[in-house]
């Protein structure tokens, strides 16, 4: 009985200490590093049974199973690429939120930049052609006159917007 007393005291002490200074909660995941990689991979994947959610965000049963699958594959030492291939092999390219660059997705990946290029080229060509056309419709000003006009119109201020006359 006596020998038990210190243990009982110790237990009490631990109990009180626990109440006074709380413990840091344990992460839900067994392995935080694995979990982080799992989330990163599953954010790139689409949950098939949901309307439009990533595997990371979905609470569907299949999504949970697939997250478990990914976690286990990470623990088995598979690379991200191998895991991605595993998913695509079973569900097709549909599961990838970042479509791979193939013939069918050329326009998707290069479209925006082609669009930007076209936009800028069209803009520059338009501006040049426009200034020529405008010049043709206006009586030509000599350089001296042009300077005067410029000075009158904008020289006194930075913009013509604003102040009431």
């Amino acid at each position: 009985m006596r020998r038990l007393l210190p243990f009982a005291l110790l237990a009490l002490l631990v109990l009180f200490a626990g109440a006074a200074s709380a413990r840091e909660a344990a992460p839900t995941a067994e392995d935080v590093v694995v979990e982080k990689r799992m989330v990163a991979i599953s954010e790139e994947l689409r949950c098939l049974v949901c309307q439009n959610e990533s595997l990371a965000a979905s609470q569907a049963d299949l999504a949970k199973d697939l997250r478990r699958e990914i976690r286990e594959q990470i623990q088995d030492g598979r690379s991200d690429q191998e895991i991605m291939d595993f998913m695509v092999g079973r569900y097709g390219d549909f599961v990838r939120y970042r479509p791979p660059l193939t013939g069918a997705t050329l326009m998707l990946w290069f479209g925006p930049f082609a669009l930007l290029l076209t936009g800028v080229v069209v803009l520059v060509v338009y501006l040049r052609r426009r200034s020529r056309r405008v010049a043709a419709t206006l009586p030509a000003l000599s350089a001296e006159e042009q300077r005067k006009v410029d000075a009158l119109l904008g020289g006194t201020r930075d913009t013509t917007e604003g102040r009431k006359p």
Partner: protein, 653 residues
């Protein structure tokens, strides 16, 4: 009986809008040929249509308030235990009712035009109201033939199926009306553009008239999108604020084009240039609103937000879309070649900078649209199925925004007609130096410097710096007090963009997240804040049972408050809902949501620290506010005479 009255009012409204959409247009066409009487019909018709729609809307609301489950729509979207505020908002909780809300907004905007257009020529007003009448015809027909909210259910249901729990949130009360105000508001810019094309008077006056309406719609849309984003943030329980979902994109597309439009309208009004382009943007902004409606309601794309679908509706909307947009683009092709060029300007000038802004915004819009529709295109071509998600949009959209933000500081400082780039840059030296200093310091202050973070902070500070420089310069020249409100509105909106960019950068760089298993007295800390788990208790709501977690939030040992995230089980739905608890602050949110029970007294808990996240919505709010300030400018409130001149006031001095 009351639902039948509502139904009848809708039928009458259709007839009235048929009148509104035809006779005034014909009258305006033959204005010197006895058309005046028909022109005079436009205003009364617009008002009658408004009253009829309001009446129908009140009838549907009444059916919700009175729990009339003999109405199919009410039985599907309400329940006798649903609290009154959600029964009221439940009116637009489903497809049919939200269309009626759409219609209410349209008639509201129409009647506003009819009241505030006294300074416009009568023929112009008649054309604008006529075009709006035609749109109303299309939508009323859509409601009456495919989506009647007043359809009866006989015998009546004993109780309703209840509103989707995800929608039972204050977000539902404010988000859809604001968003629709924006969507539908672009119909006014559209109607003005079509009216101008019809009359052939595509001039600066047209731009001046449609400018405040466009800005108002844009401000509503900005606010509506921000509300939706905030709603998703606190409701979905994992702290995201934008998901690039097709339906979000559907609201974002008209926003991007609308933003381009308010900028190009400025040029058209002040300098008489880009008239064709501006008209095209006005058509595009509204067309994209219609496209959004189609995408959400036809089931061609999968989305979390999509309404239950019916193929007949898809076909109807597609025909409506094709008719409205096809006809207006055809009209555009007919009339645009005859439109004059407007004033001249140099290759570097405020005009050309604003055009560059337009190119970037339109390319951004095109890219988002490409990503949103690509799965459909590929599928339609029989090339398989694929998904385009957030990783794509982030990779494509963000780089497009960088040059836009760089130019944003230059634009307001550049002169009309001809600007000296070197001089503008010289004036911005201070802003640039300050921005670089901030971009170096802020990430270091938060403990981790990375090029991307620094880039985001740099751009935000640069944009804000541009506005600061403009304001300081005006102050120095003594002109600050004389600056018109629209000038302040612009800078407010630009500062809003800066705040938004800073918010996005900070939260994506420095947010902390912990997913932990907590027993009573356990603590978890994120971002210097500590949560102590007290426990979970059960509580009853009006139509749900909730598990309410209690956590004590503290920092440096000082208790700040108790937070109560909830996990709700609604009585009529199997779907559990999370209600996150958020402590909002100027520089950070701390966010906690309750997961699943994982033991006798243990729960899984997610805690987040999200620095600057509120700046995202705060920035949007500033943008919207900037719009409101800009339209309060008194020059929009007067003068028929002054409106017809394209010459900027300053130049006449």
């Amino acid at each position: 009986m009351i639902p039948e009255l509502g139904h009848f009012a809708l039928i009458l409204a259709l007839i009235v809008s048929l009148v509104q959409g035809t006779l005034p247009l014909i009258g305006a066409h033959r204005v010197n040929n006895g058309g005046r009487a028909w022109i005079a019909l436009a205003r009364p018709a617009a008002r009658a249509q408004f009253f009829l729609i309001v009446f129908a809307f009140v009838c549907l609301t009444w059916a919700f308030v009175a729990n009339d489950f003999s109405v199919v729509y009410v039985a599907q979207n309400s329940n006798s235990r649903l609290p009154l505020e959600y029964r009221l908002a439940g009116v637009w909780g489903g497809h049919e009712g939200s269309l009626l809300l759409w219609m209410l907004m349209l008639s509201g905007w129409t009647v506003a035009v009819s009241l505030l257009s006294r300074h416009l020529p009568d023929a112009m007003t008649a054309r604008v109201l006529g075009v709006l009448g035609l749109i109303a015809v299309g939508f009323l027909a859509f409601i009456l033939f495919t989506s009647n909210p007043f359809e009866r259910l006989l015998p009546a249901a004993a109780d309703g199926r209840d509103l989707n729990p995800l929608l039972q949130d204050p977000g539902l009360i404010f988000h859809p009306p604001m968003l629709y105000m924006g969507y539908v508001g672009f119909s006014i810019a559209f109607a003005f553009a079509i009216a101008a094309l019809l009359s052939g008077q595509l001039d600066a006056a047209w731009a001046r008239w449609s400018r405040p309406w466009t800005t108002a719609a844009w401000a509503f849309l900005t606010f509506g999108i921000a509300l939706g984003s905030w709603w998703a943030y606190y409701e979905l329980g994992w702290g995201g604020w934008w998901f690039w979902d097709p339906v979000e994109n559907a609201s974002f597309l008209p926003w991007l084009v609308g933003t381009a439009l308010i900028h190009s309208l400025a040029v058209t009004e002040k300098r008489g240039c880009f008239k064709n382009w501006t008209v095209l943007l006005a058509i595009a902004a509204f067309s994209l609103s219609l496209l959004g409606t189609f995408l959400v309601r036809s089931g061609v794309l999968t989305s979390v937000h999509a309404f239950a679908t019916d193929p007949r509706r898809g076909i109807f909307i597609l025909i409506l879309l094709a008719t409205v947009i096809g006809a207006s683009l055809f009209l555009f092709a007919l009339r645009a070649p005859k439109v004059g060029l407007g004033g001249s300007f140099g290759l570097i000038s405020r005009e050309s900078l604003l055009l560059m802004n337009n190119v970037l915004l339109v390319v951004a819009c095109g890219s988002v649209m490409l990503g949103t529709l690509y799965p459909l295109l590929i599928d339609a071509l029989g090339m398989g199925k694929l998904s385009v998600g957030p990783p794509y949009f982030n990779a494509v959209f963000v780089p497009l925004m960088v040059p836009l933000l760089v130019l944003m500081a230059l634009g307001p400082l550049a002169r009309w007609k001809h600007a000296d780039l070197a001089a503008v840059l010289r004036r911005l030296t201070f802003a640039f130096v300050a921005a670089v200093a901030i971009a170096i310091a802020v990430p270091l202050l938060y403990g981790k410097w990375s090029p991307l973070t620094a880039m985001g902070v740099l751009l935000a500070a640069w944009v804000a710096g541009g506005s600061v420089v403009a304001i300081i310069e005006r102050r120095r020249t003594g002109g600050l007090a004389a600056q018109p409100l629209h000038w302040w509105g612009m800078h407010l909106a630009h500062v809003g963009v800066a705040a938004f960019v800073l918010g996005v950068t900070m939260v994506s760089s420095f947010q902390e997240e912990k997913d932990v298993r907590m027993e009573p007295d356990d603590t978890v800390s994120v971002g210097g804040y500590s949560f102590r788990f007290i426990g979970v208790r059960e509580a009853m709501g009006p139509n749900y049972r909730a598990m309410v977690g209690e956590l004590e939030l503290s920092r440096d040992g000082k208790v700040l408050r108790t937070m109560q995230p909830e996990k709700r089980a609604y009585l009529t739905s199997a779907m559990p809902m999370t209600e996150a608890a958020i402590d909002t602050g100027l520089l950070r949110d701390v966010y906690v949501s309750l997961g699943e029970p994982v033991g006798e007294r243990a729960w899984s808990v997610r805690a987040y620290y999200k620095p600057f996240v509120d700046w995202i919505w705060g920035g949007c709010l500033l943008m919207a506010l900037g719009g409101v300030v800009a339209i309060s400018d008194r020059r929009y409130r007067m003068r028929k005479a002054a409106a017809s001149t394209a010459v900027p006031q300053g130049a006449a001095a």
